[in-house]
């Protein structure tokens, strides 16, 4: 799951070195957090959140494989 988001994010941003993805599991729930450079926020969110939503759809498929539910958070850059 983590790898999926990492792959998509790295492929879409201008600065792949700033892409960080963390994964936290509690029972069947998995929380994926994506960090990207401030300038790349738009690329991983997209207009009206279209990119973020598409990533969530694909993440759901990846998670369904082992019966878990995954949520994707895109973290505000500090």
């Amino acid at each position: 799951m983590q790898e999926l988001i990492e792959y998509i994010a790295r492929s879409l941003v201008d600065d792949p070195t700033q892409v960080r993805v963390s994964q936290q599991r509690s029972g069947d729930n998995v929380q994926i957090r994506l960090h990207v450079a401030q300038e790349d926020m738009g690329r991983v969110i997209g207009r009206n959140g279209r990119v973020a939503n598409a990533m969530r759809v694909l993440l759901r498929v990846a998670a369904a494989h082992d019966g878990s539910r995954a949520v994707l958070d895109i973290a505000e850059p500090r």
């Binding site: 790898e3 792959y7 998509i8 492929s11 598409a54 990533m55 498929v61 990846a62 369904a64 494989h65």
Partner: protein, 259 residues
């Protein structure tokens, strides 16, 4: 042979057709499989809201004979696809000089790699084949067609083709970025879009008849842009009706008017 590889998912207009198609694919008699109905499909009113039936065939006892049959089937379809891809690669289009052909090959390669990578990371096992479609008259570009074939069909299409569209969108962004120019990408799973398109064309024709008969306009169900486009194109040159879209966002629908 694991249980997973001994199942096959089929999508067809009706359950009966799906079963028949599946048995044909497997080369097995009806008694050798269990049928699980995943989606009964529905005809809907006037063919609106119609969904195709989805079933899963599970091979009952994987005896040596059956195993052989399925393995053979797989290798066959595989080699067929490969030889198709080869033909496609080696056929230069009339207008394109070598440079264009080689850049087209690069696009095919990038597309295949991208979709393979996405599916693998989504834990989906599938065969991917890519080729260019017919030149689109309007935009003057050739669409890049990606076909995905495998066992987990339902999950790859999703509700209202949600997953299919997400794969298509993300893949288009990644591939366009990789090759440095916008591409027109269509991703299909086991001919799902093609069948959907034929279904919509039938609906368009039937509704047009209805409009002519009643002499007043009719609104179709709300549809996504690509589906509305199919309806518009289907009735573009119709002598007695014309089409328009009304409504906003997800409520946008096609209205057919008498001329």
């Amino acid at each position: 042979m694991t249980e997973k590889t001994a199942t096959l998912e089929i999508i067809a207009p009706t359950i009966e057709e799906a079963i028949e198609k599946g048995l044909q694919n497997l080369g097995l008699p009806r008694e050798s499989v269990d049928v699980e109905i995943l989606d009964e499909g529905s005809k809907g009113l006037f063919g609106l809201r119609s969904r195709q039936a989805r079933i899963r065939l599970r091979i009952k006892e994987t005896g040596p004979l059956i195993e052989q049959a399925t393995t053979k089937e797989k290798t066959d379809s595989h080699s067929e696809k490969e030889s198709n891809a080869e033909v496609e690669d080696k056929t230069p289009t009339a207008t394109s000089p070598d440079i264009q052909t080689s850049s087209e090959n690069k696009v095919l390669l990038v597309a295949k790699e991208t979709i393979d990578e996405l599916l693998q990371k989504m834990n989906v096992n599938a065969e991917v084949s890519v080729h260019f479609g017919e030149m689109d008259d309007k935009s003057g570009t050739k669409p890049l067609l990606v076909d995905i074939n495998g066992n987990d069909l339902s999950i790859l299409i999703g509700k209202n083709a949600e997953t299919l569209n997400a794969i298509q969108y993300i893949a288009r962004l990644i591939i366009s970025r990789e090759i440095g120019k916008a591409i027109y990408l269509i991703v299909d799973v086991e001919g799902y879009r093609t069948r959907k398109e034929q279904q919509l064309q039938k609906i368009a024709a039937r509704m047009a008849e209805e409009v002519i008969e009643r002499g007043r306009s009719l609104a179709l169900e709300p549809m996504p842009p690509n589906e509305r486009r199919i309806i518009h194109i289907a009735l573009k040159d119709h002598p007695k009706v014309y089409t328009e879209s009304t409504g906003e966002g997800s409520h946008r629908k096609v209205v057919i008017y008498p001329k």
